[in-house]
C-alpha cells in the first residue's frame, strides 16, 4: 500500500513540475467552456434573406414585413431578378431567397390559394432544416392573419382550428447553453484523463525509466494503481472546477444530486484511464500513443451525442455506440444535471460503465508486461 502512495507522490511531483500542466488544468476548462458553449450552438439568429417581390402588392408587403419583424431574419437585399438573388447566395451573402411571384395577391383573392417559393442554402443540412421550419412558421402565421382579413367573422367561427401550445420540459427557455455545458464538461474530463494516462506509461518507456522500475520488486498492480490514481484525482478535480465555472458563468442548473454526478464521473474516469493505459501498453513512443488516442477520441466524441443526437444516427451506429464510454457519461450528466434523474433512472448506463471500467483496466493490466 505504501508503495502505491510513494508512486502517487512521485507522479504528483512530476505533474506539477511540468510547466505546462497548471495552465492545462486551469486555463483549458475556462477557455473550452467559454468558447465552445457560445460557439457550438444550433440556435439560428440573423438568417440573411434576399427577397424577390414581383407582386409589389399590399399583401406581399405585409408578408415581407412579417419576416422583417422576426428576430431570426435579416433582409439583406431585395431585387426583381432571380439571377441576382442567386448570385448573392452563391457568394454566401444570403442564406435564403424568398420569391413572391407576380399575381400573388390576385390569385390569393380569386383562387383562394397562392404560392411563394423559398430557396435555402442547404450546405449545412441541419441549419437548412431550421431555416425552413422558422420561415414556414412565419408564413403559416401570416396565412392565419389574412384569413381573418378575407373571411367574414361568421365564417371564421365556423372554421375549426387546432391550436398547439407546447411547453419545453427540462430546458424551458430552450437555452442551448444549458444543453451544451454538461456535454462540454464531459469532454473536458475525457481529454484530460485520456491524454494524461495515455502518455504516461509510454513516456517512461520512451525515456527508459521503465527499465529501472521493472527490476524493482514493485508489483505491476501497484505500479499501475500508482500511475492511474493521480490522474483520476486530477480529472475529478477538473470536473469540480468545470462545474463551478459553469455555475458561475452560465448559471447552469444542477437539479440532480452532485454526489451522483461525481460517483458516475469516478467510474467513468476509470474507463477512460483504462483506455489510455491500454494504448500506453501497446505503443512504444508518445507520438504513437498520441495518434492512436486521437483516433479513438475523435470517433468517441463525434458519436457521443454531444453535438448530434444519438437517436438520429442510423441503427448500426447506435449499436456501435454501446462501446462508446463518452456517450454513457454524457447521457448520465444531462439526465442528472438537467432532469434531476436519480440513481434508478441512470442505473443502466451506470452499470454499463462499471462493467466497462473493470473490463478495460483488467485487460490493460494483463497486457502490461514487465518482462519481454
Amino acid at each position: 500500500m505504501n508503495t502505491i502512495l510513494f508512486i502517487i507522490q512521485k507522479e504528483f511531483i512530476q505533474v506539477f513540475r511540468n510547466r505546462m500542466m497548471l495552465p492545462i488544468i486551469f486555463v483549458v476548462p475556462l477557455v473550452q467552456l467559454i468558447i465552445l458553449v457560445h460557439a457550438a450552438t444550433y440556435e439560428m439568429k440573423n438568417i440573411k434573406v434576399s427577397i424577390i417581390d414581383l407582386d409589389i402588392s399590399s399583401t406581399s408587403r405585409q408578408m415581407i414585413s412579417k419576416f422583417e419583424g422576426s428576430p431570426f431574419f435579416i433582409i439583406k437585399n431585395t431585387s426583381f431578378s432571380e439571377k441576382e438573388a442567386q448570385q448573392e447566395m452563391k457568394k454566401g451573402n444570403v442564406d435564403m431567397i424568398l420569391h413572391i411571384p407576380y399575381g400573388f395577391e390576385r390569385r390569393l383573392v380569386k383562387e383562394n390559394a397562392a404560392k411563394v417559393q423559398i430557396v435555402i442554402n442547404a450546405i449545412n443540412g441541419a441549419s437548412a432544416g431550421l431555416i425552413n421550419a422558422y420561415s414556414t412558421m412565419i408564413i403559416l402565421d401570416f396565412n392565419r392573419e389574412i384569413l381573418i382579413d378575407f373571411l367574414s367573422p361568421a365564417m371564421l367561427t365556423a372554421t375549426h382550428n387546432i391550436n398547439v401550445t407546447s411547453s419545453y420540459w427540462y430546458n424551458p427557455k430552450l437555452n442551448y447553453k444549458t444543453y451544451m455545458v454538461p456535454g462540454i464538461l464531459c469532454l473536458l474530463v475525457t481529454i484530460i484523463a485520456f491524454l494524461l494516462s495515455g502518455m504516461n506509461i509510454v513516456r517512461e518507456k520512451e525515456i527508459g525509466t521503465i527499465e529501472q522500475i521493472n527490476v524493482t520488486p514493485i508489483r505491476k498492480v501497484q505500479f499501475i494503481a500508482g500511475k492511474l490514481l493521480p490522474f483520476w484525482i486530477i480529472a475529478l478535480f477538473e470536473l469540480a472546477f468545470g462545474l463551478t465555472l459553469g455555475k458561475i458563468l452560465f448559471n447552469i442548473p444542477i437539479i440532480g444530486s452532485l454526489w451522483l454526478i461525481f460517483l458516475s464521473a469516478a467510474v467513468y474516469i476509470f474507463v477512460i484511464l483504462g483506455f489510455g493505459l491500454l494504448i500506453s501498453t501497446m505503443t512504444n513512443t508518445q507520438q504513437q500513443s498520441m495518434l492512436v488516442s486521437f483516433f479513438f477520441m475523435m470517433i468517441f466524441i463525434l458519436m457521443s451525442g454531444l453535438f448530434t443526437s444519438i437517436e438520429s444516427m442510423p441503427e448500426w451506429a447506435q449499436r456501435l455506440d454501446r462501446i462508446n464510454p463518452i456517450a454513457y457519461f454524457i447521457r448520465i450528466m444531462r439526465m442528472v444535471m438537467l432532469k434531476g434523474s436519480d440513481f434508478h433512472d441512470i442505473r443502466e448506463s451506470f452499470y454499463s460503465l462499471v462493467v466497462y471500467a473493470v473490463g478495460i483496466i483488467g485487460f490493460a493490466v494483463w497486457r502490461y508486461r514487465k518482462v519481454t
Binding site: 505504501n2 508503495t3 510513494f6 508512486i7 512521485k10 511531483i13 512530476q14 513540475r17 511540468n18 525515456i207 527508459g208 525509466t209 521503465i210 527499465e211 529501472q212 522500475i213 521493472n214 527490476v215 524493482t216 520488486p217 514493485i218 514487465k370 518482462v371 519481454t372
Partner: protein
Amino acid sequence: MENPSILVRNISRSYGTVKALDDISFEVPKGELFGFIGPDGAGKTTLFRILATLVLPDKGVASVEGLDVVKDFKKIRKILGYMPGRFSLYMDLSVEENLSFYATIFGTTIEQNYDLIKDIYCQIEPFKTRRAGNLSGGMKQKLALCCALIHKPAVIFLDEPTTGVDAVSRVEFWEMLRRLKESNITIMVSTPYMDEASLCDRVALIQDGRIMKISKPEEIIADYRFQLWAVRSGKSFELLKDLHKYPGVRSVQAFGQSAHIAFEKSILSMEDLHKYLIQTGHENIEIEEIQPNIEDCFMELMIQ
C-alpha cells in the same frame, strides 16, 4: 566453485534471425568484480537483461545468488541492483527525490543504507536539489549507481556505466567499484573500453554472442605469445597502411600516435623495418619493443 553468486549455463537468446547470445556459460563467485568486454552489439546488454530478469532466455539456465532468473524473478528483484546502459532515472525529479523514491519502493530509506553509498553520494550531495536531467554525465552515473545500491543489493549489474563519461569520471567510477567490493557485493560490469578490463578481477571477452575467453587480466597478458613493437612516424595514416603490407606482420593496431605491430617472436628485425619505412617515404621513424597491454591481447583474441 561452491555456490557461485552468478551462474550461467548454456544461455542462448535470439531476436528473430539475429543470435544475440549463443550458448554462453560462466560463473562468478561472491564478491568478485567481473567485467564483460566486447564491441557494440556483442550481446552484453541482452545478457545483462536476462540476468536482471527483464528478458527470458530461449535456452539454458541462469541463477543469481542461487535463485533462478525465470522462476524466482520476484526474489531476485529484491536483491539485485541494476544500472541500465541508458540513463534511466527521472530527469524531472531532483537527485534526492530520485534516491528516496528508489529507496522507498524497495521498502528502505536513504539513512538505513547510507554507509554503502556514502562515498559516492557525498560527491553529488551538494547538488541534491538539482534535477537529475541537469546533472553532468559523470554525476548522472554516480546518482544512478547510488540508486542501484540504495537497497543494499547482493549483486549489481552495471551495463556500460562509463560509456559517454569523461576520462576523469571514468577513473573515479572504477575506484568506487573497487571500494564497493569491500562490502562483499558481486559486481558485474560491461564496457566497450578495453583499458578498463585490467581493473576487473576477471574479465570475459564477448563477441558476436559468444565468450572468447574468461580469465584474470594478468593471465590474459601472460598468455600473449607474440612480440610487439610500437612504431611511430610523421605520417600516421600511411604508416598503418605500409605496416600492413610488410611481410611477417600479424596485426597492426593504432594506439594514439603510434601503431602496434604484432608478429611471431623474433622473425623481424628492427633495421629491416626501418629501411622499409624510409623507402616508403616515412620520416622521424621510432621503433621500440613494448610489453603487451590488455588491449593488445584483446585485439589479438578478436582477430583469431
